[in-house]
Amino acid sequence: MEILVASAVGTLTAAGIYLILRMRTFPVIVGLALLSYAVNVFIFASGRLAVGLPPVLSKTAQGYTDPLTQALVLTAIVISFGMTAVIVMVALGAFLEAGTDRMDSDDEAGQ
């Protein structure tokens, strides 16, 4: 299971970085989303992987998994969701204003 989780994080990160280096806004935003998935799984794994163990107190539990990382992941998901919404809106505004969705700044003025 460790190999599965680790390779999932690796693949998601690699795909995310590849997409972020693209020139247009849409792949970049998808890349950012993939990166945030990768980091969510990574945070989850940083509390050690355990199968079938509850994170909250229970009378029948054999053991517990780390509940803190789950709370951290929840915060990270909410924040990255909000941030993705923001960048979609800003990118849309820039597209409507400039008529192009190129990510690099390459105006005639060279700015």
Binding site: I20, V39, A45, T75, T84, V90, M103
Partner: protein, 503 residues
């Protein structure tokens, strides 16, 4: 518990939604409430500054949960100083935004401004690494809104880059935090400081990776080479007052480096040693050189000031990389100075833009209204940022050079002195192009109503620079005590009361 500690976070957090929900159609009400909140923030910051100067560091346990289980805010001298600096700068910037009418050019300026203050103050006060991430996000999401305030093609396009760059930075921050958590099992800064010091040998490699990731995140905030790409475009395209407020946002990166790398990874840690200082110094010197060359080569006033800001961050990080009480005290003095000086120049750039119609330095334009006054303000700001006598920039650089005697002295002194010369030349060139060459057009200045409030705001910042110069002695000795408190570490850790078990 001293409840004033959480006031700099709660006050803007209450006022901002009120402004959005109740006063969205009434600009006068927005201005009154937002200004009143910022004035109150200045008052709270003064109280905190006085408290921290006489008392040891004090923790505020949110919900009264004991550390390290709950989130803590910690007020120490460094945090109090940064909150006070932010509050003062915010007040001046807000006066300028009201005077120049920038807050009228788009929606929700004041609400976003208050959210921004909430994020910045929270980042300075928090004593928990994950909470630092959350406050970074609060200040970033408000800064996205402020950066594209007023809209326009160039601003929105640099806005997309700015947001994307910082989202990558946030992801890196989470990777770093998760790595640290997997090694130490805690994210409370004081608890981290204790556990990192006694970490077994085998975990050191992962910890070093986490430390470098954290350094990279703070370098993105502080525009340290090779992570400075976002700054010139963002600052040059952002509205003038917003760019001036952002002067303190790069300092959040510098603050985080000072806090984390003097509390959690000090140079005497067995697991990491002086590794981070060795990484930081060359990057800082390259940043300084890049900023100075940028100042020399900038074709527009906004980019000129933005590169000046990069150079000042380079100087600041050079001083920070010493990680000793003397170098930290010098760095803090330069931090106070460069925040004010950068803000002055961004506001002057906005004054020029409003009258000249173009920021392009090469383009010949007629003289601007109130030229004498604006040229003098530019002169003062340029002297301050380039580090010439008699203003505090000179004293700041002198202290840094003095504190960094040692094996790297040749590289540090050489870079700081040569880049200062480059910046003087760059600013002199920009000033003569803007204010002297304009007279060759033999045209009359276009009339422009002088808005007293804007000039008062810039004047307030200049007055603060002069005060910092005149009171350099007392300020330096106060900063010396800030730096020694940081180097001591134990009072900060003791404030978290880690050993007390919950009932």
């Amino acid at each position: 518990m001293n409840h004033w500690i959480i006031a700099p976070v709660v006050l803007p957090a209450v006022i901002a939604p009120l402004i959005v929900l109740l006063m969205r159609h009434d600009l006068v009400l927005q201005r009154v409430f937002s200004l009143a909140a910022t004035v109150a923030l200045c008052g709270v910051a003064a109280v905190l500054l006085a408290t921290a100067a006489t008392n040891p560091p004090e923790a505020y346990f949110l919900g009264n949960w004991p550390a390290p289980f709950g989130i803590v805010l910690v007020l120490d001298r460094l945090a109090a100083m940064m909150v006070a600096l932010t509050a003062f700068l915010a007040l001046m910037v807000q006066l300028y935004a009201i005077g120049s009418g920038w807050d009228r050019r788009g929606q929700h300026f004041h609400a976003l401004f208050q959210f921004q203050l909430m994020g910045i103050c929270g980042a300075f006060l928090t004593g928990d690494a994950f909470n630092l991430f959350v406050f970074f996000e609060v200040l970033l999401i408000a800064s996205y809104g402020l950066m594209i305030h007023g809209g326009g093609r160039a601003r929105l396009r640099s806005g997309v880059q700015y947001v994307a760059y910082n989202l990558v930075g946030s992801t890196l921050f989470l990777f770093a935090l998760a790595t640290i958590y997997s090694v130490t099992g805690t994210l409370n800064m004081a608890d981290l400081a204790e556990r990192v010091a006694t970490l077994p040998e085998g975990e050191a490699a992962i910890l070093r990776v986490a430390g470098v990731l954290l350094l990279a995140v703070f370098a993105i905030k502080g525009a340290l080479v090779p992570f400075q790409f976002w700054l010139p475009g963002t600052y040059a395209s952002a509205p003038g007052p917003v760019a001036a407020l952002f002067a303190v946002m790069t300092k959040v990166g510098a603050y985080a480096v000072i806090r984390v790398f003097s509390l959690i990874f000090p140079p005497e840690t067995p697991a990491t040693g002086a590794f981070f200082a060795e990484l930081l110094l060359p990057a800082a010197l390259v940043t300084l050189a890049l900023g100075a060359v940028g100042v020399l080569g900038a074709a527009s006033l906004g980019r000129l000031v933005a590169f000046g800001a990069i150079a000042s961050m380079g100087t600041l990080f050079t001083a920070i990389s010493g990680f000793s009480p003397e170098t930290t005290a010098a760095a803090l003095f330069y931090l106070l100075h460069s925040t004010l000086a950068t803000a002055v120049l961004f506001l002057v750039a906005d004054l020029v833009l409003a009258r000249r119609g173009s920021e392009d330095l090469i383009q010949r334009r007629p003289p601007i209204a109130q030229e004498g006054l604006i040229a003098s303000l530019f002169f003062v700001g340029a002297i301050a940022l380039a580090g010439m006598p008699p203003l505090s920039g000179f004293l700041g650089k002198l202290q840094i050079l003095d504190a960094l005697r040692g094996p790297n002295m040749v590289a540090v002194w050489g870079t700081v002195l040569v880049t200062s010369l480059l910046m003087i030349v760059g600013f002199a060139r920009a000033g003569s192009l803007l204010f002297w060459k304009s007279h060759e057009t033999l045209m009359e200045a276009d009339p422009h109503e002088p808005d007293v409030l804007s000039f008062a705001a810039v004047g307030g910042l200049v007055a603060a620079l002069v005060a910092l110069t005149l009171a350099a002695g007392p300020v330096s000795s106060a900063l010396g005590s800030v730096a020694s408190e940081l180097a001591e570490r134990t009072p900060y850790i003791a404030a978290n009361r880690l050993t007390e078990q919950p009932q």
